[in-house]
């Protein structure tokens, strides 16, 4: 039996590939060649009047060629295609820093690739936001020349933040790095697929960033119809870019869900599974349902533009598009924040060294939010609905606050009478909880049709969702980066500086977005680069706080980078946490644990000194 298995596994080539070009560079070259071949073939078969070399159909086919070339170039040819046809893989993963610039099968490398790519996207989309806020400092247009430029900036900002940052950092980034460690696994199930999946993210982001080259588009991150079908070619790159990024998320989710179910260490029962792992499992299932849904909706919208069909344009049913978009769009919000809820209850018990309050209810909350998230979508389109149709969606939108409250209940119950260590991660988690309370409560207002119809498409809505996404998820991301920095790098940050930097972004964030509630109530519409002069003072103030916030995020990034490279050496388990990632060295070795892990009890009880798990070390090799 074992002999047969060995035969079937003859995959490794004794002659490793000697790379003459960095995989990323080779990917770019092959992508260019792929684009040229596919594009020119299309215009040869389907010429347009005037015979331009790039048309809307040709750019779509060319993009497919570019994507294939890119994925082959970064290592897919040697790592995936050759083994698929039975040839031995010639791909050899470097052991030094070069491993971050090509296909990898190590979940920690992939996690860091995701984190760096997503941070870069956060920076670009953040600069985009700064441009938007600079424009809005004056009532008339003074920075952008055309309204289309402003609206494209808004659309690129929103799309990059949602699909390249919000959906990615906590799941594909921290999830890829920490979930296998937290369940005692040495690798993930679909590691090669996961490695390829990362490289879809920069491809998608670059596509979106390049979208203005094909013409300014006006729809924002929602791609609203029938506007989209009338927009210039930039819409095409919006659909394609998001397609690549969502595909990356599907792959990451599939890999993590399978890993959680099948690669848990001995003794890691469902009742002992860490909170963050539960969070990743629930959002992975959400991703596997809703990301393909939005991909197909975008394929249909793309056909509306290219053929043209009339599914969603003025001859078709724009309302169907809105429904299909928000069927995905609202679960997307929970996809972003559920891991954050889980992380609060991961970090607080550690910092308090106190038993997690109502752990089971915290998990039930995550699961019920997951299930209810598909039932609330129509509150985004109340303005297009009859009164009788609004009621069930209003009801479920308010009901979802109950399981959401379970996460708060667990966090507050744990904080109750705790001797909390007031560290930077603690402070940031408390800030995230505060922010999300405001985002959540204003969400309950928005779920009520009378308020919703009044403030629809105003800055009140923008303030609400930024409080949930930035205030809830991004603050938690920063908290998690500080919390896990000693594990990622083996080094410690400056806690005093970290707290000041946390305060910096807290003031910047609340200064920016709390005033946006007032702006919205005062009548400031979304999607307009010019507005009535009476709104200027508030807009001016919002912009100043926004610049302050942007600088604060950069300062935090610099601090984390400095600590990663130059920070003082950290103890192995500086927070005295019990979860499994702290059972191994920092940073962890290639196969995570130098031995076999056995879990003997849960991770969230601090009323005893017994260990939660044991690491049975591998025997020393004989000399």
């Amino acid at each position: 039996m074992e002999q047969q298995i060995t035969q079937a596994e003859a995959r490794n080539n004794p002659q490793p590939k000697v790379m003459h070009m960095a995989p990323v560079l080779r990917g770019l070259v092959w992508a260019t060649i792929g684009f040229a071949i596919f594009d020119l073939m299309t215009v040869a078969v389907d010429p347009f009047r005037g015979r331009p070399l790039v048309t809307e159909p040709s750019v779509v086919v060319g993009w497919v060629g570019a994507l294939i070339g890119w994925l082959m170039g970064v290592g897919g040819y040697e790592g995936v295609i050759l083994p698929l046809f039975g040839s031995p893989s010639t791909w050899v993963e470097p052991k030094n820093w070069r491993k971050y610039f090509g296909l990898s099968t190590n979940h920690k490398v992939i996690g860091l690739q995701y984190l760096v790519t997503s941070s870069s996207i956060f920076f670009i989309a953040g600069m985009d936001a700064m441009a938007i806020r600079y424009e809005l400092m004056q009532p008339s247009m003074h920075f952008f020349t055309y309204t289309g430029q402003y609206l494209t900036a808004v659309g690129v900002h929103g799309s990059l933040m949602m699909f390249g940052v919000g959906t990615v950092v906590l799941i594909s980034g921290l999830g890829n790095y920490f979930v296998p460690l937290m369940i005692g696994a040495k690798e993930t199930v679909f590691s090669r697929l996961s490695g390829i999946g990362h490289w879809l993210l920069p491809a998608g982001a670059l596509t979106l960033i390049a979208s203005p080259l094909l013409g300014y588009w006006d729809t924002g991150w929602r791609g609203y119809e029938p506007l989209a079908s009338q927009d210039p070619g930039g819409m095409v790159f919006y659909y394609l870019g998001i397609f690549a990024m969502t595909l990356s998320t599907i792959i990451a989710s599939l890999n993590l869900a399978a890993t959680i179910i099948f690669h848990r260490a001995r003794g890691m029962t469902w009742a002992r599974l860490p909170l963050f792992v539960w969070g990743i499992l629930t959002v992975s299932l959400l991703n596997l349902i809703w990301q393909p849904e939005i991909e197909m909706t975008f394929v249909m919208a793309l056909l509306d533009k290219l053929i043209p069909f009339h599914f969603f344009d003025a001859l078709g049913s724009p309302l169907t598009y809105l429904s299909m978009f928000w069927l995905f769009g609202h679960p997307e919000v929970y996809i972003i924040v559920l891991p954050a809820f889980a992380l609060w209850n991961e970090i607080i018990p550690v910092m308090a060294q106190k038993n997690l309050f109502a752990r089971d209810w915290a998990i039930i909350g995550l699961i019920f939010v997951m299930m209810l998230s598909g039932l609330v979508w129509a509150h985004h389109i109340f303005t297009n609905m009859r009164n009788s149709e609004m009621f069930p969606f209003s009801f479920f939108s308010e009901m979802i606050s109950i399981p959401t409250g379970f996460s708060f209940m667990a966090a507050i119950g744990t904080l109750w009478r705790a001797r909390l260590r007031f560290t930077t991660p603690t402070l940031l988690v408390l800030m995230a909880i505060f922010n999300f309370v405001i985002g959540g409560l204003t969400g309950v207002y928005l779920a009520d049709p009378p308020v919703n119809l009044q403030v629809h498409d105003t800055f009140f809505v923008i303030a609400h969702f930024h409080y949930t996404i930035i205030g809830g998820a991004i603050f938690t991301w920063v908290a998690a980066m500080y919390y896990w920095l000693p594990k990622l790098s083996g080094r410690m940050f400056n806690d005093t500086l970290g707290k000041w930097l946390a305060l910096w972004i807290f003031i910047g964030f609340n200064g920016t977005f709390s005033q946006m509630f007032l702006l919205g109530l005062d009548g400031m519409n979304r999607w307009v680069p010019a507005y009535p002069p009476y709104l200027k003072p508030l807009n001016y103030s919002v912009s100043l706080f926004a610049f302050f916030l942007g600088a604060g995020f950069i300062a935090n990034a610099i601090h984390i980078w400095w600590a990663w490279v130059k920070g003082p050496k950290s103890p192995e388990n500086p927070w005295h946490a019990r979860t499994l990632e702290w059972l191994t060295t920092s940073p962890p070795p290639d196969d995570n644990f130098d031995g076999e892990v056995e879990v003997v009890r849960g991770f969230y009880r601090y009323d005893h000194d017994e260990p939660s798990a044991y690491l049975v070390k591998n025997p020393e090799p004989a000399e």
């Binding site: 039996m1 298995i5 039975g86 349902i289 249909m300 056909l303 599914f311 049913s317």
Partner: protein, 181 residues
């Protein structure tokens, strides 16, 4: 035995993951079916050729059956029968695609109608999955010859079969919706 247990566990993980992936990939089809209902309640145009559609569906079912037999062959340890079965299934799948291309080329169904839009989208998506399936069948038939699948280790063939059956079922449901429901 420990190695065998680990391998069995690994195969179970692959199997579960791939099935969940296929469930996930059924969402695009469900979306089109739902959208079609919202557009015009499953109206079937009288110009749609039920004969051609039925022949296409028959080819799909036939190739699915052959691929299933190929998987049974490798389970019994007959490697060559599996390779030939996968290649036959791919050829019949290719014939189904040629028929689809013929239907598209003749434009019996005008693309400018609502039924036409749904027809070209649904049959196009279905054909895309079939094209991927053909690629996978051919690739795995080459791989099987080089890597020597056995009666106990043939996960790659099983995965190809899963995908082929998935696209066959999705294609058959699309056929029912497009021509009968």
């Amino acid at each position: 035995m420990a190695v065998t247990y680990a391998k069995d566990r690994e195969i179970a993980a692959y199997r579960w993951g791939f099935r969940i992936f296929l469930v996930s990939q059924s969402v695009p089809f469900i979306l089109i079916f739902a959208d079609w209902y919202m557009f015009d309640g499953y109206y079937v145009s009288p110009v749609a050729s039920k004969w051609l559609g039925s022949i296409e569906a028959f080819f799909g079912l036939l190739s699915g059956l052959i691929a299933w037999q190929a998987l049974q062959a490798i389970r019994a340890g007959h490697l060559m029968a599996m390779i030939q079965g996968f290649r036959r299934a791919a050829v019949i799948g290719g014939a189904q695609l040629v028929l689809l291309a013929y239907q598209w080329g003749t434009r019996f169904i005008p693309p400018g109608t609502r039924y036409g839009e749904v027809y070209y989208t649904l049959s196009g998506v279905s054909g895309f999955y079939e094209l991927i399936g053909i690629f996978v069948l051919v690739a795995i038939s080459f791989r099987a010859a080089r890597v020597q699948f056995t009666a106990h280790y043939h996960w790659d063939a099983e995965a190809a079969e899963y995908f082929w059956i998935f696209q066959m079922v999705a294609g058959f449901l699309s056929y029912l919706f497009l021509y009968w429901i």
